[in-house]
């Protein structure tokens, strides 16, 4: 009997830290997924360049702060990188905008082209080397009920809550957010009512790009930075978006956290070598069981 309880508590001891760190990384996947869903909701385009642009931004921050391009403070480097990414978002939308209203399939293929260019530019400017990019987070760690909580965890949680809360506030309560929701639910009617589709599309692209940068910045300290890491991290974001239904912002938040937890459990209990295959399985399963996302079953969609 006591052996049984011991093994149970052993599982719980493993399980709680796994779930906790899954929630933390899940918040980051959600940040990536929210960007994809924002763009998809209003323009029906899947932005395959999302990961490449976010990775490029992480490299820019490295270049601006390490003395490779400039020797700036961390905050200034981040600001500069965000300016660059917003410029890229404008540029990408300028290329895609003639296609968006004609064929969303062609526009989606065009985002692959943008992704290729950005990926190539990353390789050309920064090379294929692996670099370390750290976050200036407080070195702090405490233990609550056997959970080790670090400064990094709290930073990620705070940033994610503030960013996502801010985004939902904008979408729920501002004029721009209402326009975004109107265009997402019926673009034609919204245009008839005098809303400018293009400005809302640009809003979505810019917000998505900034979310991507934040996600990339926060995920890099857990691994390292190379020309492919952030793009690979976007597979998790895509999986999160699919689990959430691809057209629901709260859904993609829940999808991100679910993917974070499942990934952690899978790599710990089954195998760390098949993580992409596992995500593939999750995507296929989610498409079969919840074609419209986990939230659609429970109740109507918000936003």
């Amino acid at each position: 009997m006591s052996g049984f309880i011991d093994s149970l508590s052993g599982i719980a001891l493993d399980l709680f830290p796994l779930i906790w760190s899954g929630i933390i990384t899940g918040c980051l996947y959600a940040l990536g997924a929210l960007g994809l869903v924002m763009i998809f909701k209003c323009s029906k385009v899947v932005n395959f360049s999302h990961g490449n642009v976010a990775g490029f931004a992480a490299f820019l921050i490295y270049g601006f702060s390490s003395g490779m391009i400039f020797q700036l403070s961390w905050g200034a480097a981040v600001l500069l990188a965000i300016v660059a990414v917003v410029a890229i978002a404008f540029l990408s939308y300028a290329v895609i905008s003639p296609l968006v209203f004609e064929s969303d399939l062609t526009a989606t293929i065009a985002t692959l082209g943008i992704g290729l260019v950005v990926q190539g530019a990353t390789l050309l400017i920064f090379g294929a080397d692996i670099v370390a990019l750290d976050l200036p987070v407080p070195r702090f760690s405490t233990s609550i009920l056997g959970l080790r909580i670090t400064g990094y965890d709290l930073t990620v949680l705070t940033v994610a809550v503030v960013t996502i809360g801010g985004l939902f506030f904008i979408i729920d309560h501002t004029k721009l957010g209402i326009a975004f929701r109107a265009i997402s639910s019926n673009a034609f009617a919204a245009e008839v009512c005098g809303l400018n589709l293009r400005s809302v599309h640009i809003f979505a692209w810019v917000v998505a790009a900034i979310l991507g940068v934040i996600g990339a910045l926060l995920i890099v300290p857990t691994t390292f930075l190379s020309a492919t890491t952030v793009a690979a991290f976007m597979l998790q974001a895509f999986a999160a978006a699919v689990v959430g239904g691809f057209a629901s912002l709260p859904g993609s938040l829940i999808g991100g956290i679910l993917i974070g937890i499942f990934m952690n459990l899978f790599t710990f209990y089954v195998s760390p070598e098949f993580s992409s295959t596992f995500l593939l399985g999750v995507i296929l399963l989610a498409l079969n069981i919840f074609p419209n996302g986990v939230l659609a079953k429970v109740g109507g969609t918000r936003v």
Partner: protein, 329 residues
């Protein structure tokens, strides 16, 4: 997703231009004849490169079929190509079967996996297929590397068994790829005019009408994916035979995206010359840029965007130039 894909079929005037049908056929025969005679004039390394180029052309056709008939885009066709390539390589190294025995196996496996992966997204818009094939392409390298007892892991496998006795192996690699390309292009040309092909096109352009005629859209979608993935498996088999090696580095997400680039550059064409344009683009540009690899994605990306924008603006510009007004649209 595919309500309005008129851009995709933009350059209609090229294929249906003023040339009479007969001279188009003569041109095709001439092209095939020239391709058959090329190895007698070219150096050995070019013969090898062209063999790979023909194989890549088959891959371009596989992606174009999916876009044309299905109105969908896959960025994971490298997976199905890998199925074909590894089927050929494993059957040869394990039980010594040559290509003519392993090619049908590759084809059947490709179709089966294609249907299997189209199934979950059968009722959903095309973006789900794009996303799930992306996951497929990303999962592929770890699957290959972890099955290294069969696949040879990072090093890969060799394909060295000839199928035409008495012919030099380098020439066999060239001619087998060429014959497979011509066969696939011929089958696709027949499909275009067959009852089944028309049904598939109807299901894509007018789903309601197709429904009324008894063709279910789900069936059409899955069938197109099956055809496309079968061709992709043939591409993999041809590539394995033409390049003599199979390794995971040939089947990454990037190589799948490059196939899509080749398809776009050939304007999603399903004819032999168009496929060759895509294949040449995919084979020769890395060759010329071999010194500076990072330029390849940049160039491919720019070519992709350029062709898409040309496809978008060309009909409008020609409309302006010819002063045609409403009856064309």
């Amino acid at each position: 997703m595919s309500e309005n894909t008129s851009v995709l079929s933009a350059p209609k005037s090229v294929s249906a231009g003023g040339l009479p049908f007969l001279s188009a056929r003569v041109g095709m025969v001439l092209l095939v004849g020239v391709l058959f005679l090329l190895p007698f004039v070219l150096k050995g390394s070019w013969v090898f490169t062209l063999g790979v180029c023909f194989a890549n052309s088959i891959g371009v056709l596989a992606v174009s079929v999916l876009v044309r008939y299905g109105g969908e885009v896959s960025i994971g066709h490298g997976f199905f190509a890998a199925i074909g390539a590894y089927a050929v390589a494993i059957l040869e190294t394990r039980i010594g079967l040559p290509l003519y025995a392993s090619l049908p196996v590759a084809l059947v496996l490709g179709v089966a996996f294609g249907v299997f992966f189209a199934w979950p997204s059968r009722n959903l818009s095309g973006i789900y297929l794009a996303v799930s094939t992306m996951a497929l392409a990303l999962a592929l390298p770890e699957l290959i590397n972890n099955a290294d007892a069969w696949t040879g892991g990072y090093e890969g496998l060799y394909v060295s068994k000839g199928i035409i006795p008495g012919l030099k192996m380098s020439l066999q690699r060239y001619y087998v790829a060429l014959v497979l390309l011509i066969a696939v292009a011929y089958v696709l040309a027949r499909l275009r005019h067959s009852r089944q092909g028309l049904v598939l096109l109807l299901a894509r352009t007018h789903p309601a009408a197709a429904d009324a005629f008894g063709t279910r859209r789900v069936w059409a979608r899955v069938a197109v994916m099956g055809i496309s993935c079968g061709i992709a498996a043939v591409y993999g088999a041809a590539l394995a035979f033409a390049s003599s090696t199979v390794s995971p580095s040939g089947f990454t997400l990037w190589s799948s995206i490059f196939l899509l680039v080749g398809s776009v550059v050939s304007f999603y064409g399903l004819t032999l010359p168009r496929a060759l344009i895509g294949g040449v683009f995919l084979t020769l540009i890395p060759l010329f840029l071999s010194g500076s690899g990072a330029w390849i994605p940049v160039l491919y990306g720019l070519a992709l965007l350029g062709v898409i924008l040309i496809g978008h603006y060309a009909p409008k510009i020609s409309e302006l130039l010819h002063g045609r007004s409403k009856e064309t649209s």
